[in-house]
Amino acid sequence: MTAARGTFQVKNRLGLHARAATKLVQLASTFPCDIVISRSGQSANAKSVMGVLLLCGSQGSKLEIEASGACAEEAVQKIGELIDGRFGEGE
């Protein structure tokens, strides 16, 4: 059983809104491992849109991604790239 973790900062202006959360969950759901996303002590299943939305990750907030199970490292890396890449949004 492998585990991985990483911390990433939300850069896009609108933060973790419905469509950004949808993208994150869609990506997380492609990995077999369990993925938990946390922000200031609050955690959510990264495969739940509602949970991710409720973290209220506005611009500048730090998100911690923890994965355990198969492909854990790859999952953290890819999700980190999505957050760093501003969810494909311009700003």
């Binding site: 609108l14 933060g15 809104h17 419905a18 469509r19 299943n45 209220c56």
Partner: protein
């Protein structure tokens, strides 16, 4: 630019007496949401949240309750997916992506766990569990510090509503009762999902109490070719299921309990619209000229990229006004430069070689936009909107200008700036446009060698300063609806003051004349792109005042083309000259009608005549 056909908005008449043996007819005015006329029976769609049963269940029934929940989730998700697919086909990806997010939220595993805990441990029935779970989630979301994220609590409520309706079997407009006959859907409001779920076979027309021409209901109704009147205040207080209605989506009017005569008049209008839209092929290829063969350029006002095809079918010689703000409304983030570029390219390529006038975003004011978090203002029409917002947020404005410049290689593109009130603003825009041009060049992206920059004349100050503005502006387009609102100091959403807001007002005619003369002296093209251009009588008056270019809703082009074809320039000029001797709007209408009304009487509406 205005969406309110102000001169049409007579204050709602109360029930007017007709024959004593039948209920009297009532006319309610709203906004023309989607063209066409329908006569039929009302189906009032309940817009209240379904009442939620709160019932404790026996422990051994928990599995059964969860099975009900899963079935409700599956049917809600299926319905949303179907709507998303239909919408993707008819309107494009932008509008359907929120539905995809809703679908994922309906199927959310976290929500299911929350519901399951309440069902198994608290022994709540599924409806109760969903209601409480959603309320808690929405409250949590609503407490977010970020105002945009806090607003997302409505998305959660919408999702809960869908599941509850599936659980209680109350599906609302997504599955209309099969009455065997197409009906007129009347509702307080229809969500994008509900509107997109309607079909021409089942729905003759739609009427909503709220909404504007740019609200989702109106836009989707146009895409679905279903007549619609939106913003009909208080209609639910008057109309019941099965009531006979006339929905006039051409003029934004609903008649309750119409008389035989009203029904005849409405079908005639509907048939005329239908005949014109059917006989278009013939009319489309006929050049737009006056009777004395002076060419008049008729262009289309559009909002959605796919409306450009409709514009061509209606014989438009280009797009005189493309309202790009549709890209910005009801979405999380401003559209990326790439998305804008692709959208503009689609319109340019469809219309090429005909010109396309892209208006930079006109948001703020009455249009709710979630992409920008502008502070609330007492008087949004006079606030931070349109070019003012663009100059205040240059990074977003530059992004739009770059997308436009890049699209310019795919056809004939012009850029038009809304709500210019001073030369200084136009110069600031010119500077930004130059900056955008340099950025595009630095990125090695192709662009047309020159892209004309013009302005909307809709602030009275701009009309008065038209000569000076025409030094910097390469073309001018008069937006009569906002010009009426600003010059006559009438809030265009006021029913009570609508009688004041006429584009036939002598003050408006004089402002238009200043702009026309400035254009002639400076050698700049002048067009009219407000509602005034779309009415046969007003259009002829404008020709008489020297205008040679009009831009209007696509559906109005055939009627205006027919009208100007029956009048010579000399006749129109004589009518305009007489109009300028009038001192009230009523006198202007009467005078122009006397001069030319007889030649185009069949194209006018009975109540346009004095």
């Amino acid at each position: 630019m205005s969406d309110r056909p102000s001169e049409r908005m007579k204050s709602s008449r109360p029930w007017t007496p007709a024959q004593s043996d039948r209920p009297p007819a009532a006319v309610l005015d709203g906004l023309a949401g989607s063209p066409g006329v329908a006569i039929g029976r009302a189906l009032v769609v309940d817009t209240e949240r379904p009442g939620v049963v709160r019932r404790h269940i026996a422990k051994h029934l928990a599995d059964e309750e969860m099975a009900r929940y899963d079935a409700a989730v599956a049917s809600s998700a299926l319905a949303l997916r179907e709507v998303a697919d239909r919408l993707r086909a008819s309107a494009g990806r932008g509008e359907s992506s929120i539905l995809e997010a809703y679908t994922m939220m309906v199927e959310d595993e976290g929500l299911r766990q929350d519901v399951e805990r309440r069902v198994r441990i608290d022994r709540q029935c599924a409806e109760w569990a969903v209601d409480v779970a959603i309320r808690e989630l929405a409250a949590q979301m609503g407490a977010a510090d970020d105002p945009y994220l806090a607003e997302r609590s409505h998305d959660i409520e919408f999702v809960g509503d869908r599941i509850l309706r599936a659980l209680t079997g109350r599906q609302r407009a997504l599955s209309l009762p099969d009455t065997g006959e197409a009906t007129i859907v009347v509702a307080h409001d229809l969500s994008p999902a509900e509107t997109a779920g309607l079909s021409k076979e089942r729905v003759k027309a739609m009427v909503t109490e709220v909404g504007t021409r740019t609200s989702h209901t109106a836009i989707l109704a146009r895409a679905l070719e279903i007549p619609a009147v939106v913003g009909v205040r208080g209609i639910l207080a008057h109309v019941g299921n099965g009531d006979q209605l006339v929905v006039d989506g051409l003029r934004g009017r609903v008649i309750l309990g119409p008389t035989e005569e009203m029904i005849r008049a409405a079908s005639a209008r509907g048939n005329r619209y239908f005949a014109m839209s059917q006989g278009l092929r013939e009319l489309r290829d006929r050049p737009a000229t006056t009777k004395c063969t002076v060419p008049i350029v008729l262009r289309a006002n559009i909002e959605l990229p796919n409306e450009s095809k409709i514009a061509l079918e209606q014989g438009a010689q280009g797009i005189g006004l493309y309202r790009t703000e549709f890209l910005y409304v009801d979405r999380a983030e401003p559209p990326s430069e790439e998305e804008q570029y692709e959208t503009y390219c689609r319109v340019l390529k469809t219309m090429a070689p005909l010109p396309v006038t892209l208006r930079t975003f006109d948001i703020g004011g009455d249009k709710f936009v979630s992409s920008f978090q502008a502070p609330p203002e007492m008087n949004p029409a006079l606030g931070l909107r349109a070019v003012r917002l663009g100059l205040a947020r240059p990074e977003i404005f530059l992004q739009q200008l770059r997308a436009m410049l890049r699209a310019s290689v795919h056809g004939s593109l012009r850029i038009m700036v809304p709500m210019i009130s001073a030369v200084r603003e136009l110069r600031a825009v010119r500077q930004l446009l130059n900056q955008a041009r340099d950025q595009v060049d630095e990125a090695g992206q192709p662009r047309a060698s020159h892209t004309p920059l013009g302005i909307m004349v809709e602030v009275p100050a701009a009309a008065i300063m038209a000569h000076e503005l025409a030094g910097d502006a390469e073309f001018l387009s008069i937006g009569t609806n906002d010009l009426v609102q600003y010059a006559l100091a009438v809030d265009r959403s006021s029913n009570e003051l609508a009688y004041l807001a006429s584009h036939f007002d002598p003050a408006i005619l004089r402002l238009v004349r200043i702009v026309v003369e400035a254009g002639e002296r400076r050698g700049r093209a002048v067009a009219v792109c407000g509602a005034m251009a779309s009415e046969p009588l007003a259009a002829v008056l404008l020709i008489g005042m020297g205008l040679r270019e009009l831009s209007m809703e696509s559906s109005a082009i055939p009627g205006v083309k027919e009208a100007i074809g029956r009048i010579t320039v000399a006749e129109a000029e004589a009518a305009a000259e007489a109009a300028f001797r009038c001192v009230t709007a009523e006198e202007v209408v009467e005078c122009v009608t006397n001069a030319i009304g007889g030649k185009i009487a069949d194209l006018l509406d009975a109540d346009d005549l004095p």
